[in-house]
Subunit: 351 residues, 2 copies
């Protein structure tokens, strides 16, 4: 297959700018690797609320469902964050999309770039050689359980619910990845307090029997939050539930000093969505200073997913070349830097 339908959701803040560079790069890939990408654009997030009142218009959902993969920018706007009364919020669009497309696994590879180690808040000897792959469950747990606020505003609750069916597919995915790597899988939970965490442990213990080569260990989430800073190299593949994954994966993203470079994939049985892990960064919007690399590396993950591994590798090499040779945005080098578009063009040209 060499013809792919890509849904493009630029989203909020710097989303449109960085996604624009991904498109530029995909155009280069199409030329060199003789394939074709057909892009269909959709609204999502704050932009979609301003224009249609709905953070995920039906039209957007339809475009995504019809696509082979979704390329997404970023979501969120301070207008909504500071108003706890807002009934409609940008994030609802993303959450609904994850659920509707069944994107149950959020995957984040974390590596250190030699040339960026000095930018990390952590010491070189702590982080050098860190190579972690995080699997975060994405369509269940407290994000999607029943929610309630009593009409008088006196109390509220959120239910965290998991079934063995919610846990099983992502657990298999994580075990399979661990088999390909150092054969070590760490389940992060709070099994000394939560029933849902104990269900995760039991389910994973059973599944582990099918992967005798992989060593499964457990870590409480509070301890994991410490260990990621104290000694990130002890981790290989991490598996965790939705809320803990949100916290732990963002914490882990800063250790390499390269948050502007980190991609993610959200994968289901039928579809997948690719997005940079940085947020919408509203302060930088429209200034041409946003780092497009995280979005471009998310595009590389998309090329892998579309079974174009050579194109994906080429793209990753192009990025490494850019980063190691100083073709970077201001976040990575305050003295000598290039604009969002210049970095994107450099990478596209290299391809």
């Amino acid at each position: 297959n060499s013809y792919f339908k890509i849904a493009v959701l630029p989203g909020d803040g710097i989303g449109p700018e960085v996604v624009g560079e991904s498109i530029k790069v995909l155009d280069a890939v199409a030329e060199v690797f003789h394939c074709q990408f057909q892009f269909s654009y959709g609204l999502m997030g704050a932009e979609a609320i301003f224009k249609t009142g709905d953070p995920l218009p039906d039209e957007t959902l339809k475009i995504c469902k019809d696509s082979d993969a979704v390329l997404f920018g970023a979501i969120g706007d301070p207008v909504f964050d500071n108003n706890p009364e807002a009934k409609v919020r940008p994030e609802q669009g993303l959450l609904k999309l994850r659920k509707e497309l069944g994107l149950y696994a959020n995957i984040r590879p974390l590596k250190t770039y030699p040339s960026l180690i000095e930018k990390s808040p952590l010491k070189r000897e702590i982080i050098e050689g860190t190579d972690i792959q995080i699997f975060r469950e994405l369509v269940s747990g407290i994000y999607f359980g029943e929610k309630f606020t009593d009409p008088d505003g006196k109390y509220a609750y959120d239910v965290c619910r998991y079934s063995t069916e919610d846990i099983t597919p992502i657990a298999h995915m994580a075990f399979k990845e661990a088999e390909k790597r150092k054969k070590k899988l760490t389940l992060i939970d709070k099994a000394n307090v939560l029933d849902t965490s104990r269900l995760w442990r039991k389910t994973c213990q059973k599944i582990a029997l099918q992967y005798p080569d992989v060593k499964l260990d457990y870590m409480f989430v509070d301890n994991a939050a410490m260990q990621l800073v104290l000694n990130p190299k002890q981790f290989d593949v991490i598996l965790t539930e939705n809320m803990f994954g949100d916290i732990i994966s963002d914490e882990a993203s800063v250790i390499g000093g390269s948050i502007g470079l980190l991609p993610s994939a959200s994968v289901g049985e039928e579809n997948a969505l690719f997005e940079p892990i940085h947020g919408s960064y509203p302060q930088a919007k429209g200034k041409g200073i946003a780092n497009p690399v995280a979005s471009i590396l998310s595009t590389a993950m998309m090329l892998d997913y579309l079974e174009l591994p050579e194109a994906a590798d080429k793209l990753r090499r192009a990025v490494e070349h850019a980063v190691e040779n100083g073709y970077v945005t201001v976040d990575l080098n305050a003295e000598q830097h290039y604009s969002t578009g210049e970095v994107g063009s450099f990478i596209a040209d290299y391809i």
Copy 2:
């Protein structure tokens, strides 16, 4: 008042050793400051399960309720952690005690020690001068909401519930502390997803009107997990719910390089419990290598609570003297170090 009834719960692992040093130090305080401490010992945690089958025997609860303050060591044992089927767990004892005594606020002061900055995994310029006070809600939220595992083991849930009454007292406590400090309070939540977080925001917004000098700001927990590593100095007083507080405060505890030194207080209307924030560290049990300073500094927080501020200050100065002059355990200096008991005696003698 110069006569105090102290409930002592040594607990598991290194708990008994470090609490023993606190008692030694309190004996010195009693002599110098002309007061009297009557110690009543109680079982709690794994020790209590092994001896009585109950992680919090009624006898222990009674001792605590009759006391002016509770001194606690540590809880937890690997025997239970690795068995998701265990019906009775050490942690249940601690959780029940918090609830029964109404200890709604867990308070953790975090400071860097000049002589220990090099031990931090973070760079000096990132952490130097960090001074944070964390207020974690301790008797509600997902820890104490309804829990359920279906008998067939197919699904489970945990309910996170908050009422305005759960939030109000700890919010006032945190605002009052912020007034005394840099007048900056950061509420950490996930208000873009959770109803309970939005209730926290609304409740705190209202309470803020009574503290016009304090600037209240909000941060999503995933972002907070990043910011604590990127730039901990931006925080002054932090307020957060139970589960997020568990994760965030443990993460924050490693930034100073001095986790063996960090104390905590868990405070309610009628009673208070003081414990080191490090855990039971079972590998070190009985070896005389555990660092007693966190327990001793928790004792200083207890002296403040008992309105013996001079004794508390003296104790803190004694600890600083010990740390800055190298009277430390092996965790702080691998070359030249002293045993748990030697460090405790040095501090007691200084008083």
